[in-house]
């Protein structure tokens, strides 16, 4: 069954005629062509599909957009402002925190939510916030260092 759905994504409003059982992940990728958000498991296990909803990280593979029509959604494509990458994006690029880069968008938005709540997180805070984002490449070390670096720069 299809329905007209209104979605607020990265500051833009979209009206979509789409099956109501489609997940937010599918709508973002297939209807809005925002392919930065990734499929990893479709069961809420890996965190690759994380996006922010009202500033909080959610797993878009477990969310039905029809239930969240007025919420502000942010994906990795919405992190930059006026063409300038977010300090987290720059720090991840500089420190090699993205290897294959597949988990990166989900990690980045999750870290962004952490820093907006806690601008001076400890290592353990960062580990805890990112515990739902699996990364198989980095051993998490460079990711944690990059979040720390971004936090320092954002506080300057």
């Amino acid at each position: 069954m299809k329905q007209l759905i209104r979605l607020r994504v990265n500051g833009e409003t979209h009206e979509l005629w789409t099956p109501i059982h489609k997940t937010l992940l599918e709508v973002l990728r297939e209807d809005l062509h925002l392919t930065g958000t990734k499929h990893g498991c479709e069961l809420g296990e890996c965190g690759a599909c994380a996006v922010l909803m009202a500033g909080k990280p959610v797993l878009s593979c477990l969310i039905l957009p029809v239930e969240h029509q007025d919420e502000e959604i942010l994906t990795v494509e919405g992190m930059a402002t006026s063409g300038q990458p977010h300090p987290l994006q720059t720090a991840f690029a500089e420190l090699g925190a993205a290897q294959c880069g597949y988990c990166t968008p989900g990690v980045l938005v999750t870290a962004m939510a952490l820093l907006s709540e806690n601008p001076n997180p400890s290592r353990q805070d960062i580990r805890g916030a990112l515990a739902g984002n699996l990364c198989r490449c980095t051993g998490y070390s460079k990711i944690i260092e990059a979040v720390e670096l971004a936090a320092v720069r954002m506080n300057d």
Binding site: K38, L43, G101, Y102, G128, A131, T138, G139, I143
Partner: protein
């Protein structure tokens, strides 16, 4: 290039060339591709671990709404496999299924849901056969053959090699130990599920985009199975979202979407579900090992006899190579004057095993390094001294004829021991805490290609635009390790331009010269050498054209940061663009090619090709653990790794490879296991297949050791696999140090530690591990003389 040339780019911690694409979500992975009129493919898989196929009827599926095409094994009957000796796979099974998850039929439909629904309508009729889920079961029921081409019963491969005379070596020993170990299988778990898109043009040309580590081998396989000239097939490897070896085989779904695209004339896409990724597998072989080692009182090894029993799963995959790899690298760390290796790979009804990071070497390394710790205790020698006193010499040949050019293992051991305060703290720690040391070594690229040929292993082509842009073409594929970046760094260094002015075009069989792929830790060394070979003649042309214009000898000039200038008078200069235009006017279009073939080495015996490599990396690891002596629960608190990388082309990326390997080793050591129940994969999901999170992964301290190896570009060796090897035995040795129990099995779960602790309380063995080996009759060994120069004085 002069010897003392100061490197401007090599050795610097630069960002990767694709970093911004990856952090902005711009990078297009295979699943991000969407083409007009694209159909979606789904694959029907066997519910039985072993069964005869009577019939597969797709007619009812074809009647479903939205379904455009359906195929079965009869549409793709030609067998294939990554190794020429194991052509045992079918894109869709024809007569038999060999594991639960084996592909049987496929449909293409207008959308994924219709395709999924149509699978339900396919009528597949099977006669179940006995399922053999372990080495013992497969050996016991040899009359029920999984593959008829097996050597005997379900034995896929038997290997028996003896270098020197082990009985003489054991006779010379003061002390002999026999130990048995088991290493459970585990899987790669890349976060990216395999994905592929095929398009068949009206011009009769086929294109496949796929997340593969080996586009060249996929290209060859498609040509074979689809019976099409390779010249009309294009394979493009999209950026791989994690490989670790799991995307190194030509895989069923890649062939299936090509066939469906050809049948329908429309693009066809498939993205495997996470559950299907577990079935596709090709991961770590479960290996049972028996090791007998002879040692003198001073700790020097006199002989080693190693037996490995590999549970291969349902198909050959890389398994013959894996079998040899379980015996190949024991000799490259500590001298073993007499060495015997017997290996057997057995087919079972499980997803096929193949290469995972370390390919066949983490298992024996676990056995060797934990046994060395036991020897150290038996002989009252410090485990650090035991290793340091007996290291392979640079410039030597091992008993199995592997050439060791440089070895930085001594420095690696000394550095991790110092950094972890191993001697100061070990034995003086609070109850339940312990430290363990282990070492390892890995190859920088397989010395031989997968199919026999005399052509280069890697090729690089360069063209320079009149605007100064340098484009490098190479078949190598970036799987996150940074191979695109390494290619750009090397060409920028050699031509004296900025990294940003180098455009890399990689992994596209229509556009790029062959590179064999991202496996066996080969790319930095082989592509790097090919890139240098391609760049240097171009540099000479640019310098000679500039020399003429500046009225100076070419030797007086150099190129740096996009300027050609006189070394003694920097004012006499040209821009790179000016020099390039002069060179083009003088020599014509500026382009060049370079290629790399590894040096011819190795002994003259069957199997001598496995383990051969231009050079070997070395790693030492110390693990610190805290273990609860009541519950057996433990944490790894810190890992120290020192890695001999020859020369770090980019230390930031090398450290990233070391940390990633250490993490993956931690996962294997502590928790990851691929297990089965009643013929089915017990945990084909990321929730149940436990892997370390950011909370489980400790601080990893990495120390890079450089040995400037003559074979590598600028002296480089591999970094992506070797650092994994010592992690599991370092953890096992640390647990023994902490609570006095030996877990001779991987993964070392808290349950096993608990059981061993209770055994110990009862005065039992305080060891958990296998106690017997299967009754396999190995053939008489191929006897190989050891090279005399490798024998200790």
């Amino acid at each position: 290039m002069p010897e003392d040339h100061e490197l401007k780019i090599i050795g610097k911690p630069l960002s990767k060339v694709d970093a911004m694409g990856k952090v902005t979500g711009e990078t297009k992975f295979a699943d991000d591709i969407s083409l007009p009129r694209m159909l979606y493919c789904k694959i029907l898989r066997s519910p039985y671990p072993h069964a005869k196929i009577n019939s597969v009827d797709t007619a009812p599926a074809l009647k479903q709404p939205g379904v455009v095409a359906a195929i079965t094994g009869l549409d793709l009957p030609i067998k294939y496999g990554i190794l020429p000796v194991s052509q045992d796979e079918e894109a869709l099974c024809v007569d038999k299924v060999r594991f639960a998850g084996d592909p049987v039929a496929a449909v293409a439909a207008l959308d994924e849901e219709s395709a999924e629904a149509a699978l339900e309508e396919i009528i597949a009729d099977y006669d179940p056969l006995p399922a053999m889920m372990s080495i013992e079961e497969a050996l016991d029921q040899e009359e029920v053959q999984i593959h008829q081409y097996a050597e005997k019963g379900n034995i896929h491969k038997l290997v028996s090699l003896e270098f020197g005379d082990v009985s003489q070596g054991f006779y010379e020993a003061d002390h002999v130990r026999e130990d048995i170990y088991y290493y459970e299988g585990n899987t790669h778990l890349p976060i990216e599920q395999h994905s592929a898109v095929a398009q068949y043009g009206a011009d009769g040309r086929l294109t496949l985009w796929s997340s593969t580590q080996t586009p060249h081998y996929v290209h060859r396989t498609l040509s074979k199975v689809l019976e099409m000239p390779a010249s009309r097939i294009r394979v493009v490897a999209t950026p791989v979202g994690g490989g670790f070896g799991g995307k190194s085989d030509p895989l069923s779904h890649e062939i299936v979407v090509c066939k469906l695209a050809m049948l329908t004339g429309r693009p066809v896409k498939i993205t495997l579900t996470r559950e299907e990724v577990f079935y596709t597998h090709r991961g770590r072989h479960p290996v049972l090992m028996w090791i007998k080692t002879g040692m003198r009182n001073d700790g020097s090894i006199t002989a080693m006899h190693f037996r490995s029993y590999l549970d291969g799963g349902a198909y050959g995959s890389y398994g013959v190579a894996t079998t040899y790899y379980t015996g190949a690298l024991q000799t490259v760390t500590y001298p073993i004057p007499h060495y015997k290796f017997e290996g057997v790979r057995v087919f079972t009804n499980k997803p096929p095993c193949g290469p995972k990071r370390g390919h066949g070497t983490p298992q024996p390394r676990f056995a060797v390094e934990t046994q060395l710790d036991k020897f150290a205790e038996d002989l009252g020698i410090d485990p650090v001294d035991l290793r340091l006193k007996h290291l392979v010499s640079p410039g030597s040949l091992t008993a199995n004829h592997l050439k060791i050019t440089t070895i930085g293992l001594r420095e690696c051991i000394e550095k991790v021991v110092r950094a972890s305060e191993f001697h100061e703290r070990r034995g003086n720690m609070p109850a339940g805490k312990g430290l363990g040391l282990a070492c390892g070594s890995y190859l920088s690229g397989a010395g031989l290609p997968i199919y026999w040929n005399k052509m280069p292993h890697s090729g690089v082509q360069i063209k320079i635009d009149r605007g100064g842009g340098v484009t490098a073409f190479c078949g190598s594929i970036d799987i996150g390790q940074g191979s695109d970046s390494v290619l750009a760094y090397i060409i920028a260094e050699e031509l004296g331009v900025n990294v940003e002015d180098v455009i890399v075009v990689t992994a596209d069989t229509d556009l790029t010269p062959v590179d064999l792929g991202s496996y066996s830790s080969r790319v930095t060394l082989m592509t790097g050498n090919a890139a240098i070979a391609a760049a240097r003649p171009l540099r000479e042309k640019i310098l000679s054209a500039a020399a003429e214009a500046l009225e100076l000898p070419a030797e007086a000039l150099t190129i740096e940061s996009g300027r050609v200038f006189c070394i003694d008078d920097v004012r006499r200069s040209l821009t790179f663009v000016e020099a390039v235009q002069l060179a083009e006017a003088r020599y014509g279009t500026l382009g060049s090619v370079g290629s790399y073939t590894p040096p011819k080495r190795g002994g003259r015996y069957k199997g001598s090709g496995v383990g051969l490599s231009p050079n070997y990396s070395y790693t030492a690891c110390v693990a610190e653990v805290t273990c609860d002596p009541q519950s057996g629960e433990y944490s790894v608190d810190k890992l120290w790794l020192a890695h001999d990388v020859g020369k770090a082309i980019n230390p930031l990326l090398v450290i990233g490879q070391v940390e990633g390997s250490a993490y993956m080793g931690l996962g294997e050591g502590m928790m990851e296991e691929q297990i089965f129940r009643r013929g089915l994969h017990k945990i084909p999901s990321m929730l149940d297949y436990k892997s370390p999170t950011a909370l489980d992964t400790p601080e990893i301290e990495t120390i890079l050791v450089e040995t400037i190896d003559p074979e590598g570009p600028y002296g480089a060796k591999e970094a992506g696999q070797g650092p994994l090897l010592p992690v599991m035995p370092a953890i096992a040795n640390a647990i023994y140090n902490a609570v006095g129990v030996r877990i001779d099995e991987v993964p070392i779960t808290p349950e096993k530690v608990y059981k061993a602790l209770r055994e110990k309380d009862r005065g039992g063995s305080s060891r958990i591990g296998p106690n017997r080996i299967p009754p396999v009759e190995f053939p008489d060994p191929i006897r190989v003389e050891t090279p005399k120069e490798s024998l200790p004085a």
